[in-house]
């Protein structure tokens, strides 16, 4: 669809998803999804539960098979590429759930994030400890015993180990207490300010869209609407159809409800 390519036609597309069909077993969850993220931007995907947002993130990283369409990063085709190749190209990922190794220590989690760096990962780990001081304190504890917020910080730090140009975050604020949500968004802003491009999926739509250059609404595996982040927030269709239901859906889990 045309809307997928209007994400500010001026800049260079760092990540491009073109007419992607993907899913589990024989069921296509994504049915011709388009997405374009320009270098240096923050882009947010919203949409109801089950819309296929996480499936799209997994498709980008080769965790679900892309049956049709194409995914390009920095102009190169990465459709179905090995995840190790994708992360080495500078595109890293914080999954929605299970985004740390619970039985490994904090330090070991970071070492795993820097697996392809070999010996060079030591220096990078020190940088991560500077950026996330709480992780240094907890470095010899198992990730499974961290609080929700600490775990999310570890998940981001693990994904930043390779110093990626672009980070994909799937619902980074889900299930966190309001003050922790604030910290997580602050970190995302810091990560963006350090020169990285951000693509995030968020249920906390108001907060996320407000800080985004561009926003996509995904529904039933298809692009519904996309527009500049703040404008999307004022779009009556989005408010009626998505922010309303999102507020209700997320309210049940106690995240975006208060804001909606």
């Amino acid at each position: 669809m045309a809307g997928g390519n209007t994400g500010g036609a001026s800049g260079e597309a760092l990540l491009e998803v073109r007419e992607v069909w993907a899913g589990y077993h024989d069921l296509d969850i994504l049915q011709g999804v388009n997405l374009r993220v320009e270098r240096g931007r923050i882009v947010t995907i919203i949409g109801p539960n089950g819309a296929g947002k996480s499936t799209l993130a997994k498709a980008i990283f080769g965790l679900v098979r892309v049956r049709r369409g194409e995914i390009r990063f920095k102009g190169a085709d990465i459709t179905g590429a090995k995840p190790s190749r994708i992360v080495q190209a500078g595109l890293c990922y914080v999954p929605q759930e299970r985004n740390v190794f619970p039985n490994l220590t904090v330090l070991e989690n970071l070492q795993l994030g820097g697996y392809v760096l070999g010996a060079r990962s030591e220096a990078r780990i020190r940088e991560m400890f500077e950026m996330f001081p709480v992780l240094q304190e907890k470095r010899h504890q198992k990730a499974g015993v961290l609080s929700g917020g600490q775990r999310q910080m570890l998940a981001m730090a693990r994904a930043l180990m390779l110093d990626p140009e672009m980070l994909v975050l799937d619902e980074p604020s889900a299930g966190l207490a309001p003050n922790v949500v604030e910290q997580v968004f602050q970190k995302i802003r810091d990560i963006h300010r350090s020169g990285r491009t951000i693509l995030m999926v968020e249920q906390n739509a108001r907060r996320a869209l407000a800080m985004s250059d561009w926003g996509y609404v995904l529904d039933m595996g298809k692009n519904a609407i996309d527009d500049a982040g703040p404008r999307l927030l004022e779009n009556p269709r989005v408010v009626e159809l998505y922010l309303g239901t999102l507020g209700a859906a997320a309210g049940g889990r106690g995240s975006a409800g208060a804001e909606a």
Binding site: Q88, F101, P102, L104, E108, Q111, G113, V116, G118, R158
Partner: protein, 289 residues
């Protein structure tokens, strides 16, 4: 009583070595490998061949047996398991295939070595009980225990302190996150089979030192191996080792009260009794180490 415990520790050491390999394969590859027992048998026959035809001292057969077992494991993965993974076969298919592989291995062994019971050629003095000890143990039995401890220390060091070991634990913990962390998954899988197959084969050699060798020896060891890993907490390598020793002791101790044929059943009953109290095993099933 003490004597039975001593016997149990010897048998348990063998169960522990083999069960650790079984649990590694299970937790990293999510494969319940019923062919593991026959990989144990395979190791015993590799050593038998080297021991009888080349006259190699039994202790010198351990490294080649480990290598042969590792090779068998890696080969099995290349020929069978990797293909099934690529086709996203269901877990029942994997179990059925592993039972098929178990039968195939056993029949190959019968074909090449015959079905009769055989023995390693061991120096006689190794079969004489050691001097003034409260229990009767032969030097070979003591060596079996020492070998098991050394092997386990090696596995521990590898899992704890090496990059590949860390990646193996990560794969057991969260496969898709390892994948998107850039872990070389194929390499982890290969190492899992090197360890799993190698430990099975070496366990088979140790087993052959404390009992006669026949084509069914490994298959019948499956029951205590599974009991050990379930007892220790499924997928927990340390639990498997401790579970192995416990199962060995329980089995041997039961001989005081029951005919020896009931040994295996007693080990399994003990496991069920423990599970009724600790449903997740003695050490929990969360982590590989």
């Amino acid at each position: 009583m003490l004597q039975f415990i001593a016997n149990g520790v010897v048998v348990g050491a063998v169960v522990a070595v083999t069960a650790v390999g079984l649990t590694l394969v299970y937790s990293i590859l999510k494969l319940t490998n019923f062919a593991h027992g026959d990989m144990v048998t395979f190791g015993a026959y590799v050593a038998l061949l080297l021991n009888l035809s080349l006259g190699l001292d039994i202790w010198w057969t351990l490294p080649p047996a480990f290598l042969a077992g590792a090779l068998l494991g890696v080969l099995g993965d290349r020929l069978i398991w990797s293909r099934m993974r690529r086709r996203q076969a269901g877990s029942v298919s994997f179990i059925v295939a592993s039972i098929g592989l178990a039968l195939a291995l056993r029949n190959l062994i019968v074909f090449f070595f015959g079905a009769q019971t055989q023995h390693f050629r061991l120096p006689v003095e190794m079969r004489q009980p050691l001097g003034p000890l409260p229990v009767k143990l032969t030097p070979d039995e003591v060596h079996v225990i020492v070998a098991a401890v050394v092997l386990f220390a090696g596995v521990h060091a590898l899992l704890r302190y090496t990059t590949i070991g860390r990646a193996m634990r990560a794969m057991a913990d969260n496969p898709s996150l390892s994948w998107v962390s850039g872990v070389d998954v194929d390499r982890v899988i290969t190492w899992t089979w090197i360890l799993g197959g190698g430990l099975a084969a070496v366990g088979g050699v140790l087993y052959g030192m404390i009992r006669p060798i026949d084509p069914n020896m490994g298959w019948f060891l499956l029951l205590p191996m599974f009991a050990a890993i379930i007892l220790g907490g499924i997928g927990n390598a340390y639990g498997a080792a401790v579970g192995g020793v416990l199962i060995g002791i329980i089995q041997e101790a039961s001989v005081m009260f029951l005919p020896a044929e009931y040994r295996l059943a007693v080990g399994f009953l003990a496991m069920i009794a423990v599970l009724l109290t600790y449903p997740r095993g003695l050490f929990g099933e969360r982590s590989l180490t």
